[in-house]
């Protein structure tokens, strides 16, 4: 259950503002793809177009195509809700639902979407998802406690468990470790490595070591100047990007010579 994504000539706008221009890329199934680049270059925006979450912002629209196994996510007859069921997302700050317990949080995507969920099915799904997020042993004795009582790193893994409970094809992560300490970051990175055997994972990160550690392929985004649209400079195997990039801008950025 993991799919390949082809982005073709994608342009993203927020009202009159042209945020990202002409992005084309291929995201391979069962792999981790990292987006790196300076702040404001549009990498999070591109990530959010992959499950149509950027539409939540009023005035945002796109041109171009995003194909998931040759099905256009932006076709007229495609429902954004349906897209988001197949492409899950983990955000920068852990955001468990404050009114729900740990167990309810994990099952939220399922219970909010299905008419009926038997107790045994719910138990199985909760355990399986929490195990998938390496959180089961830490919370199995307090599943009925509120999710907000967990530490930041645990909360983030809870959010990952919540995302994989609906069994999407693709998981998007928008700087998932930027609010976490190094130990929790390590736990999440280990988890990302495990997730890629089942899912297509796309991660945005400001931490280049992290991109080098977890990803198979890396895309470097840049923008010519503030106010200009961001663009995909190059995309290649992570090893190649970090050892022998083909564009000078990429080399400047990864070697720290760039502002």
């Amino acid at each position: 259950m993991s799919k390949r994504i082809d982005v073709k000539n994608l342009d993203i706008y927020y009202g009159a503002f042209h945020a990202v221009k002409n992005v084309s890329m291929t995201i391979e199934p069962r792999s981790v793809t990292a987006f790196i680049g300076p702040s404001g270059c549009g990498k999070s925006t591109v990530l959010r177009t992959l499950n149509r979450m950027h539409e939540v912002i009023p005035g945002a629209y796109t041109t171009g195509e995003v194909l998931m196994d040759d099905k256009n996510l932006y076709a007229k007859d495609t429902d954004p809700v349906d897209v988001r069921r197949q492409v899950g997302m983990v955000f920068q700050r852990p955001n468990p639902f404050p009114t729900m317990s740990i167990r309810e949080n994990v099952l939220a995507g399922v219970t909010l979407n299905s008419k009926r969920l038997s107790k045994s099915a719910a138990d199985e799904l909760a355990e399986q998802s929490l195990r998938g997020a390496n959180l089961w042993t830490e919370v199995k004795d307090r599943l009925d406690r509120p999710g907000s009582g967990l530490s930041g790193g645990q909360q983030q893994r809870l959010c990952i468990a919540r995302a994989i409970a609906v069994q999407p094809e693709v998981i998007l992560m928008d700087e998932p470790c930027s609010a976490l300490d190094p130990i929790s970051t390590l736990a999440i990175e280990d988890l990302i490595n495990e997730l890629k055997s089942d899912y297509t994972v796309v991660i945005v990160t400001h931490n280049m070591q992290q991109a080098a550690r977890v990803s198979d392929r890396t895309g470097f985004f840049n923008l010519e100047a503030t106010g200009m649209p961001g663009e995909l400079v190059e995309m290649d195997d992570t090893q190649k990007i970090f050892s022998n990039p083909s564009k000078p801008a990429t080399e400047d950025y990864i070697s720290g010579r760039f502002g």
């Binding site: 809700v81 069921r85 899950g88 955001n95 639902f97 404050p98 009114t99 406690r145 959010c159």
Partner: protein
Amino acid sequence: MSLDTAPTPPQERKQRKLSEIEGVELEVVRASSNRLSLLALGGAAVLLVLLVVLGLNPALALVAAFVVYLGVVFVAYRNTAGPRVARDHVFRGLVGAAFVLAVVPLLSLLWTVVSQGGPTLVDPAFLNQTMNGVTGLQDQATQRDGAPLIGGAYHAVIGTLVITGIAALISVPIGVFTAIFLVEYQPKGRVSQVIRFLVDVMTGIPSIVAGLFAFALWAVLFGIGTKNGFAGAVALSVLMISTVVRNSEEMLRIVPNELREASLALGVPKWRTIAKVVLPTAASGLASGVTLAIARVIGETAPLLVAVGYARGLNVDPSQGPMNTLAVYAYYMFTKPLSPGFREPSLDRAWAAALMLVLIVVVLNLSARVIAKAFAPKTGR
């Protein structure tokens, strides 16, 4: 001075210490104890007593003593601890005085209502009887001969609960749904701006206008002079909806956007996100907002007088004829005592009705707190 505009070499731009720069003088702060202000407070109290004994108006004496206290504290701390601390103590005094000024009328009001209305409220006749058939003769007997009180506010309590309940049933859904539209569907649209403006205008509508509106509406719909509980409920709703919209809008707005995004990213449709994530997260705030709105209208007199009229007996059917409510009941007992020569029993009833209203509002507020606590987002382990 040279006119050379070339950038200064780095060694000349080194930071100077604050003390080396002319024109900067830091205020002195020395250690000081609170004993001085206590001493000044004691002195001011003595002065107050002295002034009152000397025959000055007590209120004037209080103001004078307070001003003297502020002056003494300022001078004392200025000389021992420095001007900054002195200003701090003066403002502490002002803030404390403002607090006392705000609380004193409230406590005085509560005390007056409880002491005047308490004895009658606990009289079994007051909560069990209506005014049906009660005349000035009974009041005469009560005041002159010490006969037990006859005639109470049972019908008014029921009327208040029925009419306010219907008003809440009308305005809470309308208000909350309007707030949902304003926050979730059209945060910046033209329609929302118009709605917000109208809601703001509605907040300022005098209550009598709402009463006349309901009266006129009922005159058109059911014939001139039709007065019943529903008309009163509509009048109260007109007053309530704006408050509910405003409160609910604030509460929905403070629900973090991340929660909406988290839910949408799980593939949950928007309406379900609102129903299952946004509303439960805001529930405690919504509950207290609604309670405040109810508390605001439950004591309305004028619109109910116009739209519902005045009934001496029990009427539980809001679609049939006048009903009574506590505020209107109190108004009538004050202005039109049953027996002009023997006013005491009527005044007692009015005070008791006022106390009953206060009690209902207190109970409403307490229950709002309980509800808020039950719904509040859970924290901790």
